[in-house]
Every structure is written in structure tokens, then in C-alpha cells.
Symmetry: C2
Subunit: 414 residues, 2 copies
């Protein structure tokens, strides 16, 4: 008899977005008038038009496929050289960071990459995962059998949750000396959902920790384009030793509005090693290369042309305009939250504002207030992990008019 | 210390295509004159222009993304309804087969799907894998830890190799009664590399075997579009009981010339169950759904529009023309091989011709004859598994002129 992967049975049902959907539906049915002015600031998805430079490049690529002399079939699984070079040159080498073209692995999305990366790691690694954070890190480890069962609060045995709170600037500190060392550490900066970005000092402490213990840091920089503070590192490779301890994930989803187009990449430095049980240290680069060439067949040629065009002069200007738009929304929302007497974080180096629920209300209680009174959908912080309780996330991915209107309601209607 | 997945260290180096490349380079350097007339019939990649219907749909989709009112961000991870419905309706229900829209999971490629499917199966399943066959099935099982080490001949412990030879029509027979039952069985029809397609009787025997033992069949029908014989099943769901024992993989790569565009799908019937170690039987559909929603973010919207257009009247006609073109090449090559006194198989329901090497030459020996004497690159059968020794594969993916010229050389120059 064929046996299924029983680790999947440990997974808690995807609760957050279905429950939001259920409450929004109930509200719409009960208050059809109010529902007409509903504004969604819940989901982390871009809303504005795709850059013209990318569209032009994709039109041209589609036309190329229409002529057998310029037709492209299977491309290199790791990505076309034109894109790998453009990424390495523009995002790393132009900033003085040593990243070779063939250390870039182009994919169809960071969600895939951050999940698939576990393929190349063994079992029994001690996991460090921030709380609250993007749920994919936890779920993929459960699916891979790297955890035990969940407790009543939803915390899985075998995961070292790294709490993110006001006291540590919503970015985890390295474990105290004497605690058992973590082997595989997820860091997400700028962070989804808290909007916090890791400081150079803290990232340096993590790199030093990883080098000391032979740990690997999985650095998710999907929101890197939103960093405005020049003191905040955009890449973990800005930290000395980063190339010896970290894999970095980047995406064009938020950078170029590619959530529906699908393109991302992973950086695996050739100097990054991991251990075998008999005490050898081997490079991870050949393993990821083998994983991608065996279980992936390259991102769409059309899409890769669209991504490469983001690095043209016109493309860069359009990306900057997009980012300014969303950060402008974030500023509107942050100021409105402040005027409404709410304590908020993030929103300066990230498209998310992390707001403390007033009066000690729970995440879901305040979600209901926002829905029923302001007719605005937000995301309850508890949905991103236990340490998110008492907070909610407002997304700046919206039109400016909607951001201004949400701001007005926060000021006048709360 | 972070530990790596040591199963990767069991993998034999990807030998086939690098070795072909090495020999072709050596030939080109040694015989620059002859190299000018080199024709590649090695790789299984399409060569002709993408259907105009798909290109028009993709142009329109790119334009949609350029306007915020029609912009598409994240789509459903399992695929857009417009494509799932078009697939289920055109490829299954129109042929009387019961497949629901939500049993279709759209992806970016069959290579990914046939590799990723192992995520939802447990460890310890007894594997049945044809030999010779598409190498991804074996390699992904090695990477997942489902095998032991390889022996000197490259066969991995723990894999039940199912030999495909002239005696069984290059399609494996069900194991004899009394042999330990296989739990997870790969079938590829039409087969890559042999070009054989499974008969209804043999597929029925496999379905009955799987139902008897609670096995799951992973049915790879990536080359389904090339089937011309009406007696050959195009889907395993044509066989009674298929919905209770099989997952089917299909792709637009060869169907619509999408190898560079990237779109495929997997069918997981809701009636398909697998076991738990404590004796329960549970459906696999929710597991694959959870896998795809957690570790994948949907295929590109642009690409999905392009794939859906293959089901328009114009698209269907263009697909038929493409398939006719490649099958026409296959006929040219088959006839030439016959005229040259070679024994060949396949090429009527598949784009591959499987040719016996003459005079008892080894696969690689005859590869060298084809390269040095005819200046034609083929693929040595041994590269697809031990049972491929003594054969070579000629691919019909080429221009008609090239196919005719290769035919002429086979007749006149061998």
C-alpha cells in the first residue's frame, strides 16, 4: 500500500485568510450598505500597473517565440545569463558586494524558494523561526518532518520560536550564551508582518552567531526594495562573513509588481558550507544547483525578459515610482494611526504598518472593530504567530485614494 | 551546525548531456568542416513557433497588467478557474472522462510536478520505475531519501526497476504474483525515450494491480498529444478504477510548444486514497492542495492565458498542425532508419524513435558513429537507464528540412 506523508496531518488548518473571508462575508450579508464602502488593507499584494519597461520586454519576448529562428525552448534551469548577470551586477556588485552570476538561481517565486530550500538540508537541524512571521517557514518545516505536533496554542514541538516584540524592535536577538545553538535560522527583513528592518548591528550579531556555530541563515529580503534608511542593510552579504553563513532570497513580486507575473531568485554563495554526519563540511551551492536542475525547468523566458527590463534605466525609474507610491501610502496610514492615538511600528522601510490594538483588545476583536465600524479589512497579528497577538497589520498596497480614505476613517470614525 | 541532505551525495553525476556536449565539442574542434553540417536530434525540445492564438492571448494579458483596473496580482495557487475549467472540459469531460475542475492543479512544468509529488508520500514506499525512462523519477527519489546507494552499474538500492524491452513492447508488465507488491509506480506513456505507448490491456492490468495492492500509479502523459492510434489510452482515467489509484501529469510543453513558456498540470482525483501507518486510508487531494498552496504561488497569469488559448478553435487547429509537423518528421526518420536496415520502434504515437544499434554496438559507440560519420547528434539509450543499452533515441523535434536531411544521411552515409 502507498503511504502518505503523515507530517501533513500535523498542519493546523490554514486559519487566517479563510477566517477573514468568513467574517467579511458575514459583515457584507448583514450590512450591505456599509459593505459598499469596504476597503481591503488585508492582503500583501501589489495593486498598481506593471512597469511599461517590463511589458515592452514581454511583448517582444512573446513575438520572439512566434518565429522559429528566434524561438526559445527549454532555457537554463538556473536562469538565463542575461538575467543572472543583470541581478548580480545591479543588486549586488554595483553596491560593492561580491556575488557571482552563477550564485544567482532564478525561480518563479520566493514562496517556492523558501519552501524548496529545505530539500537540501538534512533532518535534525535545530530551527530558529521568528514569531510573528510569514507562515511558510513554519508550515514547510512541518511538512518536511522537521517538527513534532502542534500544541493547543499552535506552536510546533521542535521549532525554536524567536519572539519579535517592541523590546527588541520586532527583530529577534541572538540566543543567550549557553542555550543550545540553532542550526537553521530564518530572518525576514524587512519583516512581514511587522514592517521592521534589521539593523546592521543586529544582523552582524546573527552572522557572528552563525559563524560561531556553523549555522545557516535563510535571509528573506523579499521587501528589500522598500528600505529607505541608508543605515539598514539591504543584503546579508553587506555583513562580513555573510557569504560564509547565509542564503538570501529576493523577489520581483514587490520590487517590480510581479506577484502575478512570477519571478524571484535565490543567492547561494559558493563559500557557504554545511555539515555531514561524519564530520565533513561541504558546499551547498552544488546541492541547490542539482535541486534546481532536477526538480525545476527554469522560469518562463517571457517572464525573465520582463524581470531583466526592470534593470534598464526606464525600468529602474518605474520601480522607484512604484515603491514611492506604496511608501507614500504607508506614510499616510502611519500618520493617521498616530493622529487616532494608536501606537504603530514599521511602514518606513516596509509596506506594512504594525499597529498595537488599543485598550488591550485582542487581534481578532480589533479586526471586528475595524471591519464593522470603519469598514476596513486589516490582518490580525495573531494570524502570523502567537507573538502577533495584540497587534494588527495594515498593508500599504493600495491606491492613494484608498489609503487617504482609510486614514480619514482612522482619524474620524474610530 | 547545519546539516545538509546527504541523500544528494548518492546521486551519480548528471552524465548523459554533459558527456554528449563533451563529445560534440571534441568533434567540432577536430573536424571544423564536418561540424558545419552538424544536425542535432538529441534533445527533447520543441523547435517550431509558438501558436499565434497563445501569443495573442499573452499579449492581451501583458496589456491587462499595464492598467491598474485590470491588473492581476497573486492568483489562485492551484490555477485560475478559466484554465482549470478549459483543461477539465476539453481534455477529459469532452472525452467522457470524469475529472472535476478542482482536481486540476496548474503548475509551471511537469518536471516540477513529477519531482514535487513525492512531498505528499511517506517514506518506505516500494518503488516501481521503468528502465529506460525520463531520469527525473529516479533522481528525485534518491534526493528524497527513498533509495540506498547506487551500485557500480548505477542502479540504486530500493528501486524496483521495471525493464522495458522488445519483448514487452517497451512498456513494463505487472510484477508476477508472489513478488512483493510495489506501492508507488511510475508509468510514462507515450514513453520518453522509447516512444512506446501503453496499450489499454496493459494499462488495465496495472490499474487492477494497483487497486489490488493499494498502490498509487504516477502516470506521466506529457506526450499524450502525439497519440494517433485510437486504441491507445490518452489518460489513465479511461481505465475503470483509474480514479481510485492514479495521479496523472500533463504538460503544455510538447502539446503547445510551451517548453520555454512553462505550463503544466497535475490531476489528483478526490477519490484517490493512500494509507497511514496506523491503518487509515485518507484522500491525497487535500495533501497536494496543501502542498501547492504552501510551496507554490501559481503559474504566471500571462502564461495561464496563453495555455487557455490553446483550447480555442484557432488554438486547437494550431496544436494539431504542430503535432502533425513533428509526427511527419518522425515518419521521415522511421522510414529512413528502415531503409538503412536499422530496427526501430516508436515514432507513431510519440516524437521519439528508439533505434537498435546495429552489429551489437554499444549506445555510446553508435553515438560516435552517428556523430563522426553522419554528423548527427542522437541520444545514447544507456543514458536513460541500464536497459537502454544497445539503443539510441532520435528526436523528431526539428525542422522538416533537417529531418529529411538526417533521413538522407541514414540511407546514404551510414
Amino acid at each position: 500500500m502507498a503511504y502518505l506523508n503523515e507530517n501533513y496531518l500535523k498542519l493546523k488548518a490554514g486559519y487566517l485568510f479563510p477566517e477573514i473571508g468568513r467574517r467579511v462575508s458575514a459583515f457584507t450579508a448583514a450590512q450591505p450598505e456599509a459593505a459598499r464602502r469596504l476597503i481591503r488593507c488585508g492582503i500583501g499584494d501589489v495593486t498598481e500597473a506593471l512597469p511599461a519597461a517590463s511589458r515592452a520586454a514581454m511583448h517582444a519576448a512573446v513575438d520572439e517565440l512566434g518565429d522559429r529562428t528566434t524561438f526559445k525552448g527549454y532555457g537554463p534551469e538556473q536562469g538565463y545569463d542575461f538575467l543572472r548577470t543583470a541581478i548580480a551586477e545591479n543588486m549586488f556588485r554595483a553596491r560593492g558586494l561580491e556575488v557571482a552570476d552563477d550564485e544567482i538561481f532564478v525561480s518563479d517565486g520566493s514562496k517556492c524558494d523558501t519552501g524548496n530550500i529545505l530539500d537540501i538540508f538534512g533532518t535534525g537541524n535545530r530551527l530558529g523561526i521568528p514569531d510573528p512571521v510569514y507562515p511558510v517557514y513554519v508550515d514547510t518545516n512541518v511538512m518536511a518532518g522537521n517538527t513534532g505536533e502542534a500544541d493547543a496554542a499552535g506552536a510546533y514541538a521542535g521549532i525554536g520560536y524567536l519572539p519579535c516584540h517592541e523590546g527588541n524592535g520586532f527583530m529577534p536577538d541572538v540566543p543567550a550564551a549557553g542555550e543550545p545553538p540553532l542550526d537553521l535560522i530564518y530572518l525576514c527583513s524587512p519583516n512581514n508582518p511587522t514592517g521592521a528592518a534589521v539593523t546592521r548591528e543586529k544582523l552582524q550579531a546573527w552572522v557572528e552567531y552563525a559563524l560561531r556555530h556553523g549555522s545557516v541563515i535563510l535571509f528573506d529580503a523579499a521587501y528589500e526594495a522598500f528600505i529607505t534608511d541608508p543605515a539598514i542593510p539591504r543584503s546579508i552579504y553587506e555583513i562580513p562573513g555573510g557569504r560564509e553563513c547565509a542564503i538570501e532570497f529576493r523577489s520581483f513580486s514587490k520590487h517590480g509588481g510581479f506577484t502575478g507575473v512570477r519571478c524571484a531568485f535565490t543567492v547561494v554563495p559558493k563559500s557557504l558550507m554545511a555539515g555531514t554526519r561524519d564530520g565533513r563540511k561541504l558546499p551547498l551551492h552544488p546541492l541547490w544547483s542539482r535541486r534546481m536542475t532536477t526538480k525545476f525547468n527554469g522560469a518562463s523566458y517571457i517572464v525573465q525578459r520582463g524581470a531583466a527590463a526592470l534593470f534598464s534605466e526606464a525600468g529602474k525609474a518605474e520601480v522607484a515610482t512604484l515603491i514611492d507610491h506604496y511608501l507614500g501610502n504607508a506614510a499616510v496610514l502611519r500618520e493617521a494611526a498616530r493622529d487616532a492615538g494608536l501606537t504603530s511600528f514599521g511602514g518606513t522601510d516596509a509596506p506594512y504598518i504594525w499597529v498595537k490594538t488599543p485598550g488591550g483588545l485582542g487581534s481578532w476583536e480589533f479586526f471586528d472593530v475595524m471591519l464593522n465600524k470603519l469598514n476596513v479589512v486589516v490582518t490580525p497579528g495573531a494570524g502570523f504567530g502567537a507573538a502577533g497577538e495584540g497587534f494588527f497589520r495594515i498593508s500599504a498596497f493600495n491606491s492613494r485614494a484608498n489609503a487617504i480614505e482609510v486614514g480619514r476613517r482612522l482619524r474620524e470614525e474610530l
